[in-house]
Subunit: 158 residues, 3 copies
């Protein structure tokens, strides 16, 4: 069993909703980024890539390439999962933490878990989405952006 | 083997000690929070819940509920451990990192490890408490609060 | 299989290069610290120590001791690896994330992975080095310093 961890941050900008773990969550702002800025999917993609020593999200999907402009990030995560499968491996479990004061994640957690299960093609029981605040401190506390950390446990045949 | 990760932050406020990993550590300030604000226990509780895909600490112990006001956080961690046991699982090891300039954690580490072993009902050899600073940077560097990250490795029967 | 996580931060100061994962990366600044301030190696050392419940880097190499002044951090990591070996254990895989806007890590990734493999005496296929930015937010976004998080998966004989 190998493990990986990921971390990502995106900054708030104009908008009325944010993509988090593959779900559009209504909010008084949006998140800026070259792609859809889904911090949860980006952190998780990196955790999977890290677990199998396959580079990072910026290596596979360079922000400098126009074709990823506004891209839906589920394809980034699906690609990481396909690399695990190509190695004959299996995702044991994944755990995503969203770090922000707002929006509230709880009401959307079940849909996020279902969406991640769909993208990763694993059982919902192997997926965790959590949320926490930084109690008003730092850039997340000042509502300048959202951070996410993720961990992944992956079985590889060697 | 499944893995989970947790993160938590609490802000300094008036007081003369902080709860960290179940121990009261003398300090020139306290930590604010609905419960006893033990960032170490909160991050670790979330890591365990994440490893078994059982929601997060805010889901199980909503800050909106008056009965958790000033609550000792060891009960949050004990609850997470009981959920692992209820699934027929076993905690393989846990690792907590406390991120702050002060108080110094080293002198209290052994007692924290002993306390965590007591709460989790596992051997001290399966527990790690570490500390680091952010070299004066960010909200922890400015002594506005304490952050904690934790990871947990859990064996589940399926 | 046990897992550990590490986190470290160092502040930019005068200089023309930074040590990251055992490689000197040219940059318009240096990193301040008692040792060579290699945040990647420090976070990874802590992740390994955490996985085997063996204290933290500050416990083994106190900044208060003059002999670690300007020390090359590869010896810290090698020591953690030797503690794993002394327990009859084996490092399954490690994953380091470097968090900064600059320097760009990608061009140096392959050499970092090779260097870590050398220090840890494990196959390069068990090593991951990733990078991410915080999109201009927080102390890393303001280029005040570099942060690093790491995770490690370790097999121990009991
Ligand atoms: Mg991103
Ligand atoms: Mg808390
Ligand atoms: Mg350091």
């Amino acid at each position: 069993i190998r493990t990986g961890s990921g971390y990502d941050v995106h900054r708030f900008g104009p908008g009325n909703g944010v993509w988090l773990c593959g779900e559009l969550v209504p909010h008084q702002a949006g998140l800026l980024g070259h792609s859809d800025a889904d911090v949860g999917l980006h952190a998780l993609t990196d955790a999977l890539l890290g677990a199998i020593s396959a580079g990072d999200i910026g290596h596979h999907f360079p922000p400098s390439e126009p074709r990823w402009k506004g891209a839906a990030s589920d394809q980034f995560l699906a690609h990481a999962a396909s690399l695990v499968a190509a190695r004959g491996g299996r995702i044991v479990n994944v755990d995503v933490t969203l770090i922000c004061e707002r929006p509230k994640v709880g009401p959307h957690r079940a849909r996020m878990v279902a969406r991640l299960a769909e993208i990763l093609k694993i059982d919902q029981g192997r997926i965790s989405v959590k949320a926490t605040t930084t109690e008003g401190l730092g850039f997340t506390g000042r509502a300048e952006g959202i951070a996410s950390q993720a961990s992944a446990s992956v079985w590889l045949p060697r």
